[in-house]
Symmetry: C3
Subunit: 318 residues, 3 copies
C-alpha cells in the first residue's frame, strides 16, 4: 500500500495521519545516510531543484540544500535580493519561468501566508513550503514530530505544549495540525497578546502560566521570540518575558517528570529559553537539527517518487 | 564540416550565419535533455565555470547555472556584492585570478559595454557574455531566434519588430545583428526618445507607431521598459506608454494575421505588454525560457568542444 | 611514516616543520589535477563542507570552493548577510547546528581573532581557518611557501621580507610562523604605525626603510594596504605611502639581485605595489593563486584522511 503526498507539501493541515506517518517512516532510513562516510544516495540524480528564499534563512536553507545534495540532485539558490523579484516580477511569473526551465522542484520560503500553495497551484513542478508568512512550516513540524517519536516511541497520547509567540508562528501552526492528527494532546502557553484569539478552535488547551504547562506536559516546544515583538508592544520587556514565560531550569525543577525540550532555533538564550535548559540532558534541540535533514530528504524523495509513479504525465514535466 | 565559434561568445555582431546556425542546430538535441527524468549529460564533467555577475539577475543566472549543471560542469557563483570588486580590484585582476585558478569558462554580466570582450582578450578561459551594458546579450537573442525558428521553421524572410526601449537594450542590439545575419527583416518601434539616433544604419526599418508595426510584422519582440526611464524623463508616464506603445489585445486584434509575441522578461504587465497578450495563444514567452537553457547548453558545449579540438594548446589551459 | 595535522587547521603557529612540509608535499600532485581536462578526483566524494564566510571574500572563497569541488565534495556557502547570525545567533550555536547536520568540514572566515579555534574546539567536524581577525590565514601562508619553494627549491635559509601593514595582517602572522618554522630568515618592513610593537619577539628583523629590505631579501611579500588605514590616521596619504614603502621598479632596480615578488591580493596597484612590478618577470602573484587551489586541496584531503584514519570515532561524526 503506497501513500502519496500529492504534488506539493504546502502544510500539514490537510495531510492525513497516513501521509504524515509515511513521511516519518521514510525519514528513518535517510537518517543513516548522513552518518555514512559517503553521505550520498543517487535517488534524485539529474533532478533540478531551486531553493527560492524570499526571507533570510540559514538553517532551513542549508538543511534543504544538504538534503538535496545527499540525494544527488542539482540545486540552485535564489535569494530575494539580487533577483528579478527586485525588478518587480510577480511570483507567478517567477514560478512559470522556473517551470519553463524544467525545474523538478521548488523549495519556497516567502513572507506571505499562502505563497507556497499559490505557487504549487500554478506550476507542474513539485513545491515544498519552507515557511510561508504566519501560515505553515511543515518540514519543521515534521522534524519536531520525528524527534518526539524517537524519544517517546509514539506521538499518540503525548502531551505537547507549545510555548511562546504562537500568534506569529508558522512552526506552532504546523505542529498543532500535525501533532493533533497523530493523536497527541496539544496545548499552547504564552502572553495573551501573543496567542491567537480563537486558538481553542484548533483543538488545543491554553495555559496562561508556564508553570501549569510544565506540570501538564511531556514535552515543551519553545518558540523563538522575535525580538521586534518587544518594540511593537506585544511584551513589556525581554527580562519580564523571561521571568514569566522563559523556560528555565528553576521552573523545570518543579515538574513532576523530566520534560523533553524542543526549540526550532535560532535560540535567544536567556529570553525564551535558558542555556542550562537548552544544553541540558532533556534538550533534543540538536537531534531536531539532525532529523531535519532526514525529514527533508524523505519529503523530497516522496514527492519525486510520487510524480514518477504518476507515469506519463510526470515524465513530461519532471 | 565543423564550424568553430572561436574562444569566446561576446556578441552576435561578428558571428557568421554559419556560426549562428551551428549554435541553433546544436541546441536542438539539448532541448531533449531537459525533458528527461535524469536531466544530465556528462559533456562538461570536471570543467569549472564561474558565473561572474556584476549586475543582479535571476533568470539568466539560473538558466546558465542549470545549463552548466545539466552538462555536469562544476560551477561557482560570484556576485559583485561581497566580492573583491568591492575592495577595488580591477576586472582584469579578477579575471587573471580566475584564470590562475584554472577556470575553464567565465560567464560574465557587467554594467559596462565591452566588459566581456575586455575579459576575453585577457584570459585563456572561454568567456561568455551574459549581458554587457547596452552592448549585447547574445544568448538572449539566440534563444529568441531558436524560438522563432521553432514557430516559423526558418528565420529567412521573417518580419520581426522589436518594440520599446531599443536605445538602452542589449537584447535589441543582439537581436538586430543576429536576425539580419540569418536573413530576417527587422524593424524597431518605440518613442523617439528611446530609439538610437542612427538605428537605420543597422539595417532596420523604424515604425513610429506600434499599429503600423503590428500591421507589418510576423513577430513582435516586446522589450522590458525599465521603470526608471520614466523618472529620467524618457517617457511621460507608464499609463501613457501603455496607451501608445503597449502591446495590447485590442491593438493586436486589428492585425491582418496572428502575431507571434516574444518578451525577454521580466515583464511589466500592463505597461509594455498586457497580461491577455503575455498569456495568450500566440505568446512564446515561456518557450523562450525553455529554449534559453538549451541555447546556453549549446554555447557552453561548442566553446568547450572548440578548445578540445584545438588539441595540445587547449589541454594547457582548459 | 604518516604525519597527522590533527582535526583542524587553525594556524601555522603550532604546526611542526614536518606537518607544514607534509601539506606542501601533498599539494604537489594536486597541482596537476587543475591542469587536466577533467579537473576532478573522487577523494572527498559524499563529504559535505560548509564555507562559512562572515567577511566578504572572492578569491579565498572561490579557491576553497573549487578545491572542494575538484575533490568531489558537496559544498554549501553561508554568508553572514542573510544568515541566522543576523538574527543574533551565537557562533557556537551556528557551529553546533552545522555539526548536527553532519557537516564533515567547515571553512570559516571571521572578523574575530580566535574564531576558528573557538569553533574547532566545540564541534567534531574538521575546521579550516580561512582568516580570523588579525590572527592567522594559514592557507595563504602555505600557498606563499609553496610558491617560494617552487621558485627557490627550498625555504631553508631563504631571506623573505614582508612589506606593509604587518600590524593588522593575518597573512603576515601566518607567514612569519610558517617561514621561520621551515628555516627561512624573515624580516618585516613598514611604517612604525603599522608594525606590531613587539614584532622582534617573533624572531624577525625589522627594516624601517624598504630600500634596506630590498638590499637584503631574496623575496618580498607585499601586503595589501587596507585603504581605511589612511582615514584612520595610520598613514598620511596613499601617495606618500607609495613613495616611501611602495614596491616600485625604480627601487627594485637598485637591488643586488632579482627579487621574487609575492602579493596575497587583491592589489592596490600604484599604492603598495606598482603595475610594472606586479606584472613583471619576477612576480609570482599569479602562481600564488594557482598554488592556492592545490594547497587547499591538500589541507582538505589531509584533514579528511586524518579523520578517516581515526577509525570508529571518525565514522560517527564525519
Amino acid at each position: 500500500m503506497t501513500v502519496s503526498l500529492g504534488k506539493d507539501l504546502v502544510g500539514l493541515e490537510h495531510l492525513s495521519r497516513e501521509q504524515i506517518t509515511a513521511i516519518l517512516d521514510t525519514a528513518e532510513p535517510f537518517k543513516e545516510v548522513s552518518e555514512r562516510q559517503i553521505k550520498k544516495v543517487p535517488a534524485l540524480r539529474g533532478k533540478t531543484i531551486v531553493n527560492l528564499f524570499f526571507e533570510p534563512s540559514t538553517r532551513t536553507r542549508i538543511s534543504f540544500e544538504f538534503a538535496e545534495k545527499r540525494l544527488s540532485a542539482d540545486t540552485v539558490n535564489v535569494a530575494a535580493s539580487g533577483s528579478s523579484v527586485s525588478k518587480g516580477e510577480t511570483l507567478v511569473d517567477t514560478a512559470r519561468n522556473l517551470e519553463a526551465m524544467r525545474i523538478d522542484m521548488v523549495v519556497i520560503r516567502h513572507g506571505s501566508s499562502g505563497a507556497a500553495k499559490f505557487l504549487g497551484d500554478r506550476i507542474n513542478s513539485n513545491v515544498i513550503n519552507a515557511g510561508d508568512g504566519k501560515h505553515e512550516h511543515p518540514t519543521q513540524a515534521l522534524l519536531d514530530m520525528l524527534t518526539l517519536r524517537d524519544r517517546f516511541g509514539s506521538i499518540e497520547g503525548l502531551k505537547v505544549c507549545i510555548v511562546g509567540d504562537v500568534l506569529h508562528s508558522r512552526v506552532a501552526r504546523s505542529n498543532i495540525w500535525g501533532l493533533t492528527r497523530l493523536g497527541a494532546e496539544v496545548a499552547v502557553c504564552g502572553p495573551a497578546t501573543l496567542l491567537p484569539r480563537d486558538v481553542e478552535q484548533l483543538g488545543v488547551t491554553v495555559f496562561p502560566r508556564v508553570e501549569a504547562a510544565i506540570e501538564w506536559a511531556d514535552a515543551l516546544n519553545v518558540l523563538r521570540l522575535q525580538l521586534e515583538r518587544m518594540t511593537s508592544g506585544f511584551i513589556p520587556s525581554l527580562r519580564e518575558y523571561n521571568r514569566v514565560f522563559g523556560v528555565t531550569a528553576e521552573k523545570l525543577a518543579r515538574a513532576p517528570k523530566d520534560l523533553c525540550i524542543l526549540h526550532p532555533g535560532p535560540m535567544n538564550r536567556g529570553v525564551e529559553i535558558d542555556s542550562e535548559v537548552a544544553d541540558g540532558p532533556h534538550s533534543v534541540i540538536l537531534p531536531q537539527v539532525t532529523n531535519g535533514v532526514a525529514v527533508r530528504m524523505a519529503v523530497l524523495y516522496l514527492l519525486a517518487g510520487g510524480s514518477q509513479d504518476a507515469g506519463s504525465s510526470g515524465s513530461e514535466m519532471s
